[in-house]
Amino acid sequence: MAAEQGNVDPMHQFTIEPLFGTDHWAIAGHNIAFTNSALWMLISTVALWVFVAGGMKRELVPGRWQMAVESMTGFIDSLLAANVGPNGKKYVPYIFSLFMFILFANILGLLPLGLVGVHPFTFTSHFTVTGVLAILSFSIVLIVGLAKHKLHFFSLFVPHGTPVWLLWLIPIIELISFLVRPFSLALRLFVAMMAGHVLLEVLSSFVITSANSGVLWGTVVGLPSFILMIAICALEILVAGIQAYVFALLTSLYLNDAENLH
């Protein structure tokens, strides 16, 4: 839309481009070219691996790096202990990987690498990526719940103390709220990341356009927009952390439903 008028197109940053491999690389009709999205997934996986590997020395007196890794694992451990209880210990690896992967992805996507010509791609701003993560969490909930409680799992849809005359309505509402979970989980992360990046891009277009139209507009519009951009960048770092935390928190709540029913 806006690109045709020579302005900044706020949606261009989300374009997925194949880096190598073309349209001919296809399995069952799906293109499998190595895209910028895949590249940044690989980068955040490697960064996460390096971060954790650096703290695996298991020294009796931990150094700074080991302390950083242990404080993250301890954080996830206490999150699961508080929300799932003693049964939650076995989910620490999954929730830790999920939390750290999303956190690294969000923060890597915010890095100002555009200054040196590398454009970071926030793959968590795509519904396909967050959707797969949400489906992963949702299927673990379903598999654990059905394997552990068998058909008793469906008592999840009838909370304790439901009046008998409401038995026709409550299970339907509970079922809908249960089925909406993966969508709300994925949607929250993807929209929060996308909205922040679009906002930054729109503000940057204010700065560029106003600076191009003279000193007066540059100081009246451009400068306040630029200051606001810096503040929004700080807010985005906060949002990157909060969204990763919320994803991990809600996944652990859903795991609590599967482990302990309610």
Binding site: M1, M11, L79, A82, N83, S184, L187, R188, V191, A192, M194, A195, I242, Y245, V246, L249, L250, L253
Partner: protein, 76 residues
């Protein structure tokens, strides 16, 4: 009315939802802070619930953003 104009007006109306979510999120953190200052000892234990409330309030605002984006870029 022109369909394009109607779409843009609809997207603008959807932005009201973002403001409403701002009220909601502010309410969540405001109430938390108010009660945390009354009883600081109990505050740390409620942080999980704080973020659940935040997530629920925020999601509804993000949905209005999705509606606006769908109206501008997807709806024909």
């Amino acid at each position: 009315m022109d369909a394009q104009a109607a779409k843009l007006i609809g997207a603008g109306l959807a932005a009201i939802g973002a403001g409403m979510a701002a009220i909601g999120v502010g309410n969540v953190f405001g109430s938390f802070l108010e009660s945390a200052l009354r009883n600081p000892g109990a505050a740390d234990g409620q942080q999980g619930r704080l973020f659940i409330g935040f997530a629920a309030a925020e999601l509804l605002g993000l949905l209005s953003f999705v509606v606006a984006m769908i109206l501008i870029f997807v709806a024909k």
